[in-house]
């Protein structure tokens, strides 16, 4: 563990990304303390600029507090990003593991299914799914998971293909171990590093998709979200720039930070790939 941290530390920008993420998480966790009210509440004079009328980052056309929206929106973004990724990684591992381990006909079938999902443009597919299921936090999570698992499946399949013929796996066969145990206990732990790396990057993508959906008005109407804020302020971009700008910056910084962390994890978990200097 200490060597993992040492390797991670060598990548300065990854450390910076981690600090930012921790700050965003803290912000989301203390949202109800910082702004102990519903972010949809009308808090004061509409379209006040940043610092005016008691609004730190200004207010929008209905007098909602932009800063409160960002803080509460962080909760939504992180939660959806994380849960959707976990679901996607789970589906991906199941598909990839069976496909890579058993090969043959099963592999053909599972991979053709994966390809069907890969050929549909993911954002449009997500819009479609949410529109069909009615916008809610659950339907958004499902939509994001459904469009992002194929990448994981292909990755896990590749790893399983490479590992299943390794001698240590053959040794397990000669001991009479059953397949499920070999997959879970022997092979899967050996492909955790790339899965963690791709998973961390998927969180960033999931946040972007969620924001995009909310921007188009397909977010959960009862939950504050960065994408919704930008959508709400979009028409007043020239007169009230702050309504769009601050949530946009929040998305930018969070996604960038997650990507930096993903990069850092990659360096730390797959040290042999690095050697660049």
């Amino acid at each position: 563990m200490s060597t993992f941290w040492q390797r991670y530390k060598r990548n300065r920008s990854a450390v910076f990304g981690l600090i930012v993420i921790v700050l965003v998480i803290l912000m989301a966790a203390t949202a109800d303390l910082l702004y102990a009210f519903d972010p949809f509440r009308l808090a004061g004079k509409p379209l006040s600029g940043p610092g005016l009328n008691g609004f730190l980052l200004g207010s929008d056309s209905l007098g909602r507090d932009v800063a409160a929206g960002i803080v509460h929106g962080a909760k939504t973004s992180l939660l959806i990003g994380l849960i959707a990724t976990l679901v996607a990684v789970f589906i991906g591992i199941v598909f990839g593991a069976f496909s890579g381990y058993y090969g043959g006909r099963l592999d053909d079938i599972l991979m053709r299914i994966t390809e069907i999902f890969q050929t549909i443009p993911s954002f449009i597919f997500a819009i479609l799914l949410v529109a069909i299921m009615k916008p809610s936090i659950v339907s958004i999570v499902i939509a994001i998971a459904v469009v992002s698992w194929p990448g994981v499946a292909r990755l896990v399949r590749g790893e399983f293909l490479a590992l299943k013929n390794r001698e240590f796996v053959q040794a397990c066969h000669t001991l009479g171990m059953n397949d499920l145990r070999i997959m879970l206990r022997e092979i899967l732990p050996n492909c955790m590093s790339p899965i963690i790396v791709i998973g961390s990057l998927m969180v960033a993508t999931a946040i972007l998709i969620e924001s995009g959906l909310a921007f188009l008005g397909l977010g959960d109407p009862n939950i504050m979200s960065w994408g919704f804020q930008i959508g709400a302020g979009r028409t007043m971009l020239r007169s009230a720039w702050w309504v769009c700008t601050f949530p946009g910056v929040a998305i930018l910084i969070t996604v960038l930070a997650i990507n930096l962390v993903g990069e850092g994890l990659n360096d730390a978990l797959n040290p042999r790939l690095r050697e660049r200097n």
């Binding site: 001698e167 053959q170 001991l175």
Partner: protein, 552 residues
């Protein structure tokens, strides 16, 4: 005639901070004269390859660099040469051949093109002249149909042909020095013998100085004029081939030479009448499948195992020897049911196990176990050593506490420290890992042990220890062993009987001593004749060998 080509004085090569030792090579001095072959011998990590690379200016800078001393090539210090000067020297005045010809050749360029490159960069000749020279070179290294090989890509050639092409390239500009870094290690014995002869012939023809890096004393005996022995980056002994091989002075050299298995077969032990494993008419074919939907043409078929018949008696060691691609590993994997066979019978104690499903096979698993070739690939890096050994019994339904107790016992039986139990495989060396692999296979108390090249990835000194361990265990546990190897020296020391395989067929079987003394099949004769350094170790050393066979 005896002009000094290369003189290395007090060479130091520094490793990056945090490495196992500060210097890869320490205070090394050696010299090479025209027409001479100097062998640099040592085990892995002795710094022999880095020495060779330093001469070519090919050290992996900036991490590893020359930190002291001189490498004088015809009076010019190569360590101080500019990059451009080095490029002139490389290929034209000093050239190098590598261990693995497949990775040393560019896979997307034809052989002719790769040879042509050397001429284009170093001399000015017209295109037709260059082609003519290249064909001539390929003919010199005894490649059949040089015109055809000019247009061939590396993957279309065999290992031996690739190495010949590499040699052709290395000798294209008649270099004064040829550096050969384990050029035959990746090749089969019969090919190795041909390549060694080729290097020798080319050397006499053009009076080249050859710096030959190897770990194999058999090769040294065959090719060297003088020998330098290295250990941990330090030269421990140097002298003529006779001095070093027949009267080594340094204890390390003595130990290394002592560890080389002799070609004198062990005395066969009395053979039990009871057959524990019987294989009849076994066949295995690879390929021949079609793609998805059954479209496309049939894949090429390879018959890896053809009508193999074997029987293994209680307590004996049967060796399966053959070169790479002979199907010996496939045979082992078929017998232990890691692969399905096409046809044939495999019976343990008279019970047919071929054709059993995986579930039906499970109760038979504890009878037959396997030790794998590569100790780095055969242990799961994420599982602790204790669990690796205990997982067999646990899988077979033994109580967990009981399994752990057995694992602890086995760790001490295979000669490891008890603390190994809680460690991960990467904390161990190759030899220690192989001991762990052996412990794992013994945890189920098998009757039959299949050892698939268990020592071929190890240094000679470690190899001797592992072979001794296998011998002890076999006697202690009354194991019957199927020992797969490509190395006839190892086979001579371990096996009671031998089966010689070629192209998936067993061409000859017999008691080891009888087979060595009087080989019937021409292929067995070829194999025996190709063993490097065979005159050296059978004659002079026979006394010490005898004492070793007795104790075994």
């Amino acid at each position: 005639m005896t002009e000094k080509l290369l003189q290395i004085d007090n060479l130091f090569i520094e490793l990056p901070t945090g490495s196992e030792r500060q210097h890869a090579v320490q205070d090394l001095s050696l010299e090479l004269t025209q027409g001479e072959t100097l062998c640099v011998v040592g085990e892995s990590g002795s710094g022999k390859s880095l020495t060779a690379r330093a001469v070519m200016g090919l050290l992996p800078a900036p991490h590893v660099r020359v930190s002291g001393g001189q490498i004088n090539f015809n009076g010019e210090d190569v360590t101080k040469a500019t990059y451009d000067r080095l490029r002139d020297i490389r290929g034209s005045e000093i050239s190098m051949i590598f261990q693995e010809p497949m990775t040393a050749l560019n896979p997307v360029m034809s052989i002719g093109n790769q040879i042509d490159e050397i001429f284009r960069y170093h001399v000015s000749l017209s295109r037709s002249e260059r082609i003519e020279r290249a064909i001539e070179l390929l003919r010199d290294v005894n490649l059949p149909n040089p015109e055809q090989i000019m247009n061939a890509y590396p993957h279309e050639l065999s290992g031996g042909q690739r190495q010949r092409s590499m040699i052709a390239m290395a000798l294209a500009l008649k270099p004064q020095i040829l550096i050969a870094d384990e050029p035959t290690t990746a090749l089969d014995v019969t090919t190795q013998a041909q390549i060694l002869k080729l290097i020798r012939d080319m050397q006499t023809a053009s009076n080249t100085g050859v710096l030959f890096i190897t770990h194999d004393f058999g090769v040294v005996a065959d090719i060297a004029d003088r020998v330098v022995v290295m250990q941990h980056g330090i030269v421990v002994e140097s002298g003529t081939v006779n001095q070093v091989l027949n009267s080594p002075e340094h204890p390390y050299t003595q130990a290394l030479i002592g560890a080389v298995p002799s070609l004198m077969p062990r005395e066969a032990r009395s053979r039990s009448e009871k057959t524990v494993l019987q294989v009849k008419g076994l066949n295995k074919t690879f390929g021949g499948g079609r793609s998805f939907f059954g479209l496309g043409k049939l894949n090429r078929e390879v018959r890896a195992v053809k009508d193999v018949e074997l029987d293994l008696h209680k307590g004996e060691t049967l060796g399966v020897v053959g070169e790479s691609g002979s199907g010996k590993s496939t045979l082992a994997r078929c017998i232990i049911r890691l692969m399905d066979t096409d046809s044939g019978e495999i019976s343990i104690d008279g019970n047919e196990i071929n054709g059993l499903s995986r579930a039906e096979m499970r109760p038979w698993r504890h009878k037959i176990q396997m030790v794998f070739q590569d100790p780095f690939a055969s242990l799961n890096p994420r599982v602790r050593v204790g669990d690796i050994i205990a997982q067999g019994p646990v899988t077979q339904g033994v109580d967990r506490d009981e399994a752990i107790k057995r694992a602890r016992e086995l760790i001490s039986i295979v000669g490891l420290d008890g603390r190994a139990f809680d460690r991960f495989p990467h904390e161990f060396s190759g030899g220690q890992r192989q001991r762990i692999g052996i412990a794992r296979s013994l945890a189920l108390k098998p009757e039959i042990l299949i050892a698939d090249e268990p020592v071929s990835a190890l240094d000679v000194s470690i190899q001797a220890q592992i072979l001794k361990l296998l011998d002890e265990i076999r006697d202690q546990m009354n194991l019957s062993m199927l020992f797969i190897t490509h190395d006839l020296r190892v086979a001579a020391q371990v096996c009671d009987r031998l089966a010689v395989m070629r192209y998936g067929e067993i061409v000859e079987t017999g008691a080891t001593a009888k087979l060595f003394a009087n080989p019937q099949h021409s292929y067995t004769r070829d194999l025996l004749a190709a063993v490097p350094g065979k005159e050296w170790k059978t004659g002079a050393k026979s006394t010490s060998v005898k004492s070793r066979t007795k104790s075994a």
